[in-house]
Amino acid sequence: MGNCYIFPGDDARVQRFIDKLEEREKYLEELEVKRNELWPKITDTIATCLQSIGGGLGIGATIVGIIAAVEPTQIVKTLAIGGAIVSVVGCVAICGSSVASTYSEGSEQQIIIENITDTTNAAIFEFLDLRDKPPE
């Protein structure tokens, strides 16, 4: 069983303790929001990758179609190779940036976790101070 402590509300430390607990609650809610958004974001990333690769293959098929339709001169060949390279680079950029944006969630999550730890420690500090040096 835990102990029950009663302190007067006019002590600044009590107010600081309450503020820190409220702040902690706010950060916990933020972390919960991040959790809720995480997997839908992953599915969006997968869908983006599928679309970009599908689009890239579509562009590739169009390029091959153009080459087959017209006389494959040097200019057409160069344009086709250029187009194919651009489509591959585009796929990598779109899909890669989507994965990178999901990865950057990690640093945001870490900041929230650090804030929760900081506010918890601050609240504990105020409580211990109140317990050891109770207001007169």
Partner: protein, 145 residues
Amino acid sequence: MINMKEPLAPAAALIRATVWGQLVGYLAIVTMIGIEDAPDFFARINLWSFLWPPLILLLMHLFQLDKGIATLIPRVWIITGMLLLSIFTFLAIVVGVWLSLNIPESLITPGWEYTQTTSIIALYLCALSITIYFSIRTCRSSKEV
């Protein structure tokens, strides 16, 4: 003209296997999110998320798109595209599970604990392995289509 009775060429098999692997993995994740939100099944995902993967599979099989693309596009582009797709989606899943696990134990809520579904990594690793296997098979194949 694509002959439907002909055995599937390695490049077409690669496209088919990769598309199946990715879409089954995608459906597994959206189902997982739906179950987590049950009874409000569509709280974070919409019905379209469940409909478009089977639609893509239906179109691919109905119009023989895998064979068509394998006929039109050089093998090297197909292998590159399929490998990039599988590697990137696998990385996205690894990031997702890493973020789910990277929470101090004291802050883990029941909901967060539920998303520690590491089995989804196994599913996408399996999809990536299949893509790699079919890519090697396509590379070694002397048949163009």
